[in-house]
Point group: C2
Chain length 217, copies 2
Amino acid sequence: MQTFGLMVATAEGIGILHELTGVIARRGGNIVSVDIQGEVAGEARTFFEIEMTANPQELVDELATLPIVREAALVKTLQAIYGTRIIIAGGGAQVGQVALGAISEADRHNIRGERISVDTIPLVGEAPIADAVRGVARLSRARALVLAGVIMGGDIERAVREVREQGLIVVSLNMAGNVPEAADLVVTDPVQAGVMTVMAVASTAKFSIGQLNRRVF
Amino acid sequence: MQTFGLMVATAEGIGILHELTGVIARRGGNIVSVDIQGEVAGEARTFFEIEMTANPQELVDELATLPIVREAALVKTLQAIYGTRIIIAGGGAQVGQVALGAISEADRHNIRGERISVDTIPLVGEAPIADAVRGVARLSRARALVLAGVIMGGDIERAVREVREQGLIVVSLNMAGNVPEAADLVVTDPVQAGVMTVMAVASTAKFSIGQLNRRVF
């Protein structure tokens, strides 16, 4: 089983994704992700990441024969280009400091051939932050979340417990509210929080949250 | 025409996306984006963002009757949760400083109800950075790219010209190589580069790159 990237250029229109996925399904392809690029100069591009045992070139050749398809080609996967994502959400001041640590540490891993992205959103308020926590489960390639603020609780705590059950690592700054109680790891220094989170998802780091002998730093 | 988010929980398997998109196409839905969450506890979730004139609840009800579907529900769109994205790529030291400026400025807009995310990847080398530049065109909700480094040229410059033609705003730090010549805007201070890029995509900012009377700051 191999994973490969596939770009298909078509006109924009209703039913195109249905037609493309039909060909992919008949060839036994399991679609892992889909990215749709809106129409530019009368052309829409759809990028698939597909797991398949058969030769992907035969799939490309078949797609290229469809009347709706202008071009079909194998491309790099977004996993190969941008890799695993960590997401940082919360107050702007703290999100920025966590990002500094995380970007610096991701740089050290990416130089050795790994791919780790550091994505952020500064937000205020319980409901927008809870939405952002739950939304991380929908973000492709996201593995860990850092909550950076001075007080977070209520529905944000429930959202943290939900996404941890879905396999996401959650790191919290040491802050007021009960989000720290719900997190995998609690870190006081925001730069260290960013560094530790990247180390926790990096395959080139000898570090795993499960092996630490304490949960609060 | 309205855009709405749709979550469909199913078993994982080949052909499921084809079956779901068939129902959406028959109801006249234009699929803007698809996010597939890998199987957790025997269940896979697919999130669609769909433009449609008809009542979305009727689509949800029809999907819920399919034997493969365990649950279908309307949800918030990722655009509503995370909003427009700016992407910062390049050397870790500079990416971090651009991110600080961008996150701080995004915070000020998001507090007023807008949604802007700041996403980053630290990278080294012409080919990985050129891949990251071209890849931004595939990233949903990405509107602007900042290139942060000390020297960038060659294939990165070609990639910058390509993605600008696809409608992306490209900001470059003032650096060696010919990427600055190819960019929309050249900024010397990395914090200011981050702030200006967020202002350029924000709808709450009175700032537009097209209205500036110079291109280099």
